[in-house]
Amino acid sequence: MITQPDREGAVERFWHVVMPRWLQPWAPRAADAVADGAWTAGWPWVGAAAPVAGILIGVLFARSDALRTAHIYTVSLGFLAVMVVLAVLDGAVAVAAMGAFIVLDVITAWSGLRGSFRSAFLHLPWIAQAVRLYGSMLVGYLLLSMLTVRAPLFARRVVDEAPIDRVVRPQAAAAVRAVLYGAVCGALVWVWCQAMIVLIRPAFTWLKDSPYVAAILPVQTRWPLLVALAAVAGVGRILLEEIALSRAPRRDLVRRLTAERSHDAAALPLLPVTARVTLQAVVATLLLAGAFTTALDGLIVFVLTGLLAAWAYGVAGRPALVWAGIVQRVPAVVRLIAALALGYWFAGNIVARLWATQTFRPVLFGGLAVMTVFYLLFPQIGLPSGEAGGRDAA
């Protein structure tokens, strides 16, 4: 039974329940991320003020000298570091910062970048210029959302599905959960950094330009710092959350907000499977655009992703259902490690065979092999209640 919130937590309820309810039909994952910050409501002012602080952080970075005239946000290691920490600690703050940054970046993009456009780009018709500029920015924002929205949500899923409560004593469960969350966050930030080296290329190539070193360097050579920050923030997040629910002055408010959001998330309808499959194919094609050599590569990615997503949602029928039943018995953390290890091995073989082409196809085809492994090991067929394992099953 959900009780009506009192006036005391009205602002926190707006951020962590009402706002996700608005976002849910358009961006369900962003809605989950915003609701993720409900634990900060355990202390007066923190839950209410944190998203506002996130907006200010986004505005400050968008107006900073480093980013105002940059093709892509990866030029600023500080921006990446702050976004990693915010995303792991509090999804609401991260989404607020990202949203504010994107809005200002879109508004000022044309004036900020005009001085750096190459003549080949300026000779294009204005409509082509607009499509290429805002298209390349869209790819960049999609990549950023993988870091700030998707990665922490997945890390949470891995931790929740791990049977920690069944194998360690209750006193140690929080610590084990914290270490596991930190490790998974670190691994996902590593994945993101490795991918960004090549996937940010559309920010330059679509503008008839070449990528420059300053944009590649932070993700190519400074990733250990980002991985370490994610791991430390992950450990801190889980421990703080435990305190918020056990000792914080307003722990009842936290429980009430999370219960209300849980009810909303389960009640609101999702897109039909065909729409979800198409959307995933489009997003994957845009994400991998940096590794395309010709348009045919894009078509291959679109078709393959569509087929894999259809399989993962169970459209292929009984074989997919049987397979999903088997793999979903294995904890997500084990599947993640298997997917990364197998994928890395496959990718290494493909890159070694195709290295002589000196195009980005080795990376693209290696990436497709890894993607296939992930889709096979993480089917998306809805699980009935209690089947997901983890804490609930315990």
Binding site: R166, V198, S262, H263, A339, V351, G367
Partner: protein, 170 residues
């Protein structure tokens, strides 16, 4: 289940090793494959990252299968507390045929397990009643009842019986 944890720890160690192995290429402007990665190992890591991003985060992994309330310690384990909702986050409200079929199979499996558990409980209660009637004879079946009859001292050192009890208590 300890075996899974062991494998997970071993896997994490292997993954940590893998993080160190790919040689970091010298930063260049990434206008070509060799510029971008320098070595095959770095390119393989890039491919793994790209595939992980497209297949993992953009695909199924990023989906918060359950609402965030259910992930909070103590906040979602009780369906009543979570607003009576025990529906997984990604469970479609209008499921397709295969999804419906899969959900049906899983539901049947759960119902079977619940029936067996209920039967075991009934047997335990019956045995306990008979045992009490026959002046303290131990029950025939039922883990909990056995523990109760044998008492704390009967637990083997390192036994997980106590942990199971803790879990049930939660």
């Amino acid at each position: 289940m300890n075996r899974w944890i062991g494998w997970a720890i071993a896997g994490l160690c292997a993954f940590g090793f893998m993080l160190i192995v790919p040689a970091i290429a010298l930063a260049d402007n990434c206008s070509g494959l060799a510029d971008c990665f320098g070595t095959g190992g770095a390119a393989a890591a890039g491919a793994a990252g790209a595939g992980g991003l497209a297949g993992g985060l953009a695909g199924g992994l990023g989906s918060g299968r359950r609402g965030p309330g259910r992930t909070m310690p103590g906040a979602g384990s009780d369906p009543e507390q979570a607003g009576g909702s025990n529906v997984p986050r990604d469970a479609p409200t209008g499921p397709s045929g295969p999804e419906r079929e899969y959900a049906r199979q899983q539901r049947e499996q759960q119902e079977r397990a619940a029936r067996e558990a209920q039967r075991a409980r009934e047997t335990t209660v019956k045995a306990r009643e008979e045992g009490a009637f026959e002046q303290g004879a131990p029950p025939a079946t039922g883990m909990g009842a056995t523990d109760e009859f044998h008492g704390e001292g009967a637990r083997a050192p390192g036994s997980n019986v106590e942990r199971d009890d803790d879990t049930r208590a939660r």
